[in-house]
């Protein structure tokens, strides 16, 4: 029982990273209708950026930890910065392609992703070195029904849930949320209703980037190794999670993320040799049972 609980905690820990990243995917998909394959690299920028920002604040570092206020400042700067990069990428690379078939935007996103990974790699002060992520949250270990859980894990898991709820409320209850939903339904009609479509999409990308930065900080806090290529596979995994949950659906993204994380951990626990393949088999089975993802609805196509 305690082992089961322990594995569940590991699954939730991994799942919360997937969920946070999947939320960004699903937001962009739901509103702009494109798959932003560079989203995983926003995570990298967030994490690597935090590393460098924390270095700037290094004089505040006492005994290896930062005061809470400084941590908050660091995180906010990282979120704003990554969000701004998200907005910039959208304005430069995606906006001109908005009325093109969405596969075009997807391939552009692949290019952007390659650029975001290899440009910092070529910069001499960043380079390919893996770096140790600074300790932002002090890790306290709690024992709970025989399993151990750290404060960082609790922060991560609850953060994923809080962010999901926050986003859900933002999209469904706020004014900007109403605009987002309008743009998602029909860009042209939304524009006719006086909605500034460009602004709404920019905001969407800003939120996506900021969320990726949060995901990056969380990820790097439990797996404290940051380097320029860290985001690519995580991004793919989270994209899978978003699709699994039903892409475009905020609740689905979180559900998908947690299911991915937990199934990955339990498949490994049963047999670590086949765990990797089994994770993907579970995915296929779920999709065959629910062809539009767990929360997704099959849309009727009109001819």
């Amino acid at each position: 029982m305690s082992t089961f609980l322990q594995y569940l905690i590991y699954g939730l820990q991994l799942g919360s990273v997937y969920a946070l990243l999947a939320l960004g995917y699903t937001m962009v998909y739901g509103i702009v209708g494109m798959i932003n394959f560079a989203h995983g690299d926003f995570l990298m920028i967030g994490a690597l950026g935090t590393f460098f920002i924390a270095k700037l604040f290094t004089s505040f570092n006492i005994d290896g930890t930062y005061p809470m206020l400084i941590v908050a400042v660091i995180i906010i700067i990282a979120m704003l910065g990554t969000g701004a990069i998200g907005v910039g990428v959208e304005a430069i690379a995606y906006r001109p392609l908005r009325n093109k078939p969405r596969m075009i935007a997807l391939i552009t996103a692949v290019g952007v992703s390659m650029f975001l990974e290899n440009f910092p790699r070529a910069l001499p002060f960043i380079g390919p070195n893996p770096r140790s992520f600074p300790t932002l949250f002090k890790t306290v270990r709690y024992s709970f029904l025989g399993a151990s859980i750290t404060s960082t894990q609790i922060i991560m898991i609850s953060l994923a849930v809080v962010v999901m709820v926050g986003l859900y409320l933002l999209v469904n209850k706020s004014k900007i949320g109403a605009q987002m939903r309008a743009v998602s339904m029909d860009k042209d009609a939304a524009a006719l209703m006086g909605i500034n479509v460009n602004r709404v999409i920019s905001i969407t990308f800003f939120i996506g980037g900021a969320l990726a930065a949060v995901a990056g900080i969380c990820y790097a806090s439990v797996y404290p190794q940051v380097e320029v290529y860290m985001g690519s596979w995580l991004g793919t995994k989270s994209f899978i999670a978003a699709v699994l949950g039903g892409i475009g659906d905020i609740r689905g993204a979180m559900l998908g993320g947690f299911i991915m994380g937990i199934s990955e951990i339990f498949a490994t626990a049963v047999n670590s040799t086949f765990g990797y393949a089994v994770g993907f088999i579970i995915l296929i089975v779920i999709l065959l049972v629910k062809p539009a993802g767990i929360m997704g609805k099959l849309t009727k196509e009109k001819v």
Binding site: I107, G111, M114, I281, I284
Partner: protein, 342 residues
């Protein structure tokens, strides 16, 4: 009498032979060296992969992002035949060709069989959901291949004979393009395109969408399998991780950068983008960043692909030779952005 017709149908073959002879001549003359031949061979294999992916994604409107999975099956299938069954390094020269061809055929068949299996979910899944299944399939194949000890597990398979030459690759590339061209201008091709443009309408019109979608996957997988076999006998070494999602996404990039729904686009996209990183070698560590920037610019300024959905004359059958109206009417994409990629 039929000389004219014969010339008409055969001239692509003449072009390929001419390219081959020219290459050999330049090689002899010292203007080209083996490095260019090597890059050309990879370009040829990539053209096969991209054109076959185009059949699934560009012509039938399905969304496969695990194409390297088919390639790996073909590569391993062919390599097992030539290396483990026939011990290809120690057989007489005369026997090499049949063994090689048998290997490629078996590799293609293995891939085609699995391709049909992967086609099955496409009956139920659409768009991104199908994409994820194909991706998952590619990863499962990779995960299984690296656990099988007799074929080298994670280290990969070594000692594969070096059978692939530029002539073989050009030959198979030509056959692929010839096959795909004829397929696309056949009733099958029209069914594929109908499914791409509107699946429900196609269904209502009496097209057996199930059959055609599986056929498309099957044929594309067969070609990818053969390309994989050529790849294995070119590198003389294969390992499961060469056929990862990164490789699949390379083919996607080649295909869309060249132009979706255009065989010429696949040729141009695959050939140019295979060469581009080599041309950029002088940039050292900035190389991939510049390559990515060029790719983004291409997509921004030529978003219908480098050839913009057009076909070169030899990749096209002239309209008057067909009974019907032109197939490739450029649609107004503004109103229904989803129409072209579904």
């Amino acid at each position: 009498m039929n000389w004219k017709k014969l010339v008409k149908t055969a001239y692509p073959a003449v072009i390929v032979v001419a390219i081959y002879l020219l290459t050999m001549l330049l090689l002899k003359g010292g203007l080209l060296n083996k490095y260019y031949i090597q890059v050309m061979m990879f370009a040829g294999i990539n053209i096969m992969m991209t054109a076959s992916l185009n059949l699934i994604n560009g012509f039938t409107g399905q969304f496969c992002i695990g194409h390297a999975g088919f390639m790996s099956l073909g590569a391993y299938g062919a390599a097992i035949i030539t290396t483990m069954v026939f011990n290809g390094k120690n057989i007489p020269v005369l026997a090499q060709t049949p063994v090689f061809l048998l290997g490629l055929f078996v590799g293609g068949c293995v891939a085609a069989f699995v391709g049909a299996l992967i086609g099955l979910p496409s009956l139920k899944l659409k768009g991104d959901y199908l994409a994820i299944v194909t991706l998952a399939f590619g990863e499962i194949v990779r995960a299984i291949l690296r656990l099988i000890k007799p074929i080298g597990a994670a280290r990969g398979m070594i000692g594969i004979p070096n059978y692939s030459t530029i002539a073989w690759i050009l030959l198979f590339m030509t056959l692929t393009l010839y096959l795909l061209k004829n397929l696309i201008y056949s009733p099958y091709g029209r069914a594929f395109i109908a499914i791409r443009d509107n699946e429900i309408a196609a269904d209502v019109m009496g097209i057996d969408t199930t059959k055609y979608k599986i056929t498309a996957f099957c044929i594309a997988a067969f070609i990818a399998g053969v390309a994989g076999g050529l790849y294995a006998h070119l590198l003389a070494f294969i390992q499961p991780d060469s056929f990862s999602f990164v490789k699949s996404s390379d083919f996607l990039v080649f295909m869309y950068a060249g132009g979706s729904g255009s065989l010429t686009g696949s040729i141009v996209g695959a050939a140019l983008l295979t060469m581009l990183p080599e041309v950029l070698r002088f940039l050292s560590e900035w190389r991939i960043a510049v390559y990515a920037a060029i790719l983004v610019l291409v997509m921004l300024y030529r978003s219908d692909g480098l050839v913009g959905g057009k076909e070169l004359p030899f990749m096209r059958i002239r309209r008057k030779e067909l009974y019907e109206e032109p197939l490739f009417v450029r649609k107004a994409t503004k109103k229904h952005p989803s129409a072209q990629d579904r």
